[in-house]
């Protein structure tokens, strides 16, 4: 469970659990995890990053697969943990073992579970943003599009430059707010010019950034994690929307 989903949008977590269970998986969520440590790692704080990575390696020992509803958290575990413990062969081996079992949610569903179609009540036009780590580190590109294409009511309209960063970048967006704002403004323009009603992506950080910008611009485009549509979990308001917008609130 990624920390942002845990804190900000648990419904994405439940959507992920549902999708995995429908694909025949037994899902457990160890509560000894908190975060993958990416904020520390990307800020150059190796000591904290390593301490948290150890905790994650422990927490997920013994599971067949580790699946996260985020390309960037999955990439941290899959690609960066094995590089962290260069002078500790024992931990490196454990990190590599974990890495081999770690996947991003949507690509896990299609590539490992062999899911080719899902069902959802969602009706309308959507556009999909390729989050950077998911796309470039985890190879997530066709998988979500394939599952969206299996939904009759969903019309996918591609935006220009869907593979260009939205400007979130974790702590980047508060360390260099002006650049981040310029980037997310460009992204918002491209989202809006598709005419789609709903923006989807596989990473909540990017989604909060883009949804926050669209909201500030007064745009009517809504935003959800792709898992919410794929799992037909649409009762909760979209990101940054008031409860009325989806009919009923959570809780």
């Amino acid at each position: 469970m990624t920390c942002l989903v845990d804190l900000m949008r648990p419904s994405v977590g439940f959507a992920a659990v549902e999708l995995l269970e429908r694909a025949g998986c037994d899902v457990e969520v160890p509560l000894s995890q908190t975060c993958c440590g990416q904020p520390a790692y990307n800020s150059g704080d190796r000591a904290h990053a390593e301490a948290i990575a150890r905790q994650v390696i422990e927490a997920f020992a013994g599971f067949d697969y580790v699946v996260a509803p985020s390309g960037s958290c999955a990439a941290t575990i899959k690609h960066h943990y094995p590089q962290m413990f260069a002078d500790d062969p024992d931990l490196t081996a454990k990190a590599e073992d974990l890495a081999a079992r770690t996947f991003e949610l949507v690509s896990f569903l299609t590539d490992v579970c062999g899911v080719t179609a899902v069902s959802s009540d969602y009706r309308g036009s959507v556009t999909y943003h390729d989050s950077c780590s998911g796309l470039r580190e985890m190879g997530v590109q066709n998988q979500p599009r394939q599952l969206l294409a299996s939904l009759d009511g969903v019309d996918l309209v591609e935006m220009e430059e869907s593979d260009v960063c939205c400007g979130f970048g974790g702590t980047f967006c508060v360390k260099y707010p002006q650049i981040s704002n310029k980037m997310v403004s460009e992204k918002a323009k491209r989202i809006e010019s598709t005419g789609a009603e709903l923006l989807l992506a596989g990473d909540l950080g990017c989604l909060m950034n883009m949804a926050g910008k669209l909201k500030r611009n007064g745009s009517a485009v809504q935003a959800r994690h792709v898992a919410e549509v794929l799992a037909n979990r649409l009762d909760d308001p979209a990101i940054a929307q008031p409860p009325s917008s989806a009919g009923q609130g959570e809780g």
């Binding site: 908190t34 150059g44 470039r136 960063c165 707010p177 008031p242």
Partner: protein, 477 residues
């Protein structure tokens, strides 16, 4: 060049408010990217060539001393001279000495990033020389007294209208009513003006894309042919280059050339690929009487074998810059020194110090687009992270960031406490913000809420709900 990298944030503010710059940056965002993609798609072995190019450079760098000595020996055999320069100052002094010995007055220059790195023009001018840039982009920024903003398109930040205005101002002897609306009219005018200067030049200075150890040749690639006239017409040719440019033989150079132009501009090959090997021989029709190579180190040998060694493979194609969304937002001058974009964010701290250039490796989202297109497969984000680690170790990163990280890590390492504290915080935020679904402003989060709304959390955390579900054997509604 005086660095303003420490003032990166101010530079960013200026860049974002510069309408001409923002208009000009559109060109980078579209043109280069599509052309590179198409060129790469047309060549089935492109990915394999990237591996080969990387391997060639890795091999050469592992035996750099051997290949550099072999190269020097060959240059000397052909009657040329190699001058080793440990620092920028040594390189500049050497070049001024050579110009003085040749009694030079006018110096023509082909495009060279090393010349920018050592701030050559300013020193030549101080020494009383008349310096003429012959690459169109370099010529434009020389007129404008600006540094380059891109390593292969130095004047990419200038609009056509601005070039027209500059030409009208500086080419005052040409008829004022002449037409200068079209790009080709600007090119023709520059060509006319520069043509005179080639013949006046006593010394021609070029850079080098490659140095070939096997033959003692230097290779340049250009699209304007200006480099050829610069190096052939004057009586002295000086190649200003750096130690990592060497490759073992011509085949190796050719293999890397096949990825260079495709990555840079999407061309199969640059229009001119020119080899120069020593001064004019008895049987040659043209060529310089003297041939000098200045081999600059300037901190590069210190990068060998370390965290930043991969950066020495860089062939200055500019692909990482062309694909960088941060560069697209702020342009090259914001980076504050010679090398912009991702390659600059890694290289600049190596060359002028991380105290001065510490912002650069931080100003990246780690989106990874640079690494995905780098023909030499240089792990640029990884090396930016290395810089961040060094800054963190040396307490150069901002106090607020360090403090925030420590606080966050304190909780993140105590799952129960973390669950309790975040549970409280999220419930509170949800209670306050549920009605709107977002916050217009949040204390301590100005960086976020100055520009965008902050979504309200849903309420109970996933952990709390999951724990309840485990207890009850069902999901709470």
């Amino acid at each position: 060049m005086e660095s303003t990298a420490h003032a990166f944030k101010d530079n960013v503010t200026t860049a974002l408010h510069d309408a001409n710059l923002q208009q000009a940056l559109g060109k980078v965002r579209q043109g280069f990217i599509v052309k590179r993609r198409e060129a790469a798609d047309r060549l089935p072995e492109f990915e394999a060539l990237r591996d080969q190019a990387r391997d060639i450079k890795n091999h050469t760098l592992a035996h750099l001393d051997f290949y550099l000595e072999a190269y020097e020996k060959k240059v000397t055999e052909q009657g040329g001279q190699v001058h080793w320069a440990a620092t920028a100052e040594e390189a500049r002094d050497k070049i001024v000495d050579i110009c003085r010995a040749a009694d030079a007055k006018v110096v023509t220059k082909g495009k060279s990033m090393i010349a920018e790195e050592i701030a050559l023009n300013a020193h030549l001018e101080e020494a009383g020389l008349d310096v003429v840039e012959t690459d169109l982009g370099e010529y434009i920024i020389q007129l404008r007294h600006e540094p380059p903003s891109h390593i292969i398109a130095p004047a990419v930040h200038v609009t056509k209208k601005q070039v027209e205005a500059d030409f009208r101002q500086y080419h005052a002897d040409l008829p004022p009513e002449r037409h200068l609306d079209e790009p080709w009219e600007l090119v023709n005018e520059a060509r006319q003006v520069l043509r005179q200067r080639y013949f006046q030049a006593d010394v021609g200075i070029t850079g080098a894309n490659f140095l070939v150890a096997e033959t003692g040749s230097s290779i340049i690639v250009t699209n304007e042919g200006n480099g050829d006239l610069t190096q052939i017409l004057p009586k002295v040719h000086i190649v200003i280059t750096s130690i990592e440019k060497v490759v073992p033989n011509l085949d190796d150079a050719m293999a890397i050339l096949r990825v260079l132009a495709r990555s840079a501009t999407g061309q199969e090959f640059s229009t001119y690929t020119t080899l120069s090997t020593g001064p004019k021989r008895a049987e040659d029709l043209d060529g310089p009487e003297a041939y000098h190579v200045i081999l600059l180190d300037n901190g590069r040998s210190g990068m060998l074998g370390g965290d930043f060694a991969d950066m020495l493979r860089c062939i200055r194609c500019g692909a990482c810059i062309n694909h960088c969304p941060v560069y697209h937002a702020v342009g090259g001058h914001a980076y504050g020194w010679v090398y912009p974009g991702p390659m600059g964010s890694v290289l600049t701290p190596n060359l002028i110090g991380v105290e001065e250039a510490g912002h650069l490796p931080n100003a990246s989202t780690f989106c990874g687009r640079c690494e995905s297109v780098c023909p030499m497969r240089i792990p640029l984000p990884k090396m930016m992270r290395h810089w961040r680690e060094r800054e963190f170790e040396r307490h150069l990163s901002p106090k607020a960031v360090r403090w925030g990280l420590s606080l966050w890590a304190f909780f993140a390492r105590r799952p129960r406490l973390y669950g309790w504290a975040t549970g409280m915080a999220m419930s509170l935020m949800a209670a306050v913000g549920r009605k709107n679904g977002f916050f217009e402003r949040l204390p301590l989060a100005g960086g976020w809420t100055d520009h965008r709304a902050f979504p309200t959390p849903q309420g109970r955390t996933f952990r709390a709900q999951w724990a309840a579900r485990q207890r009850q054997g069902e999901e709470p509604s």
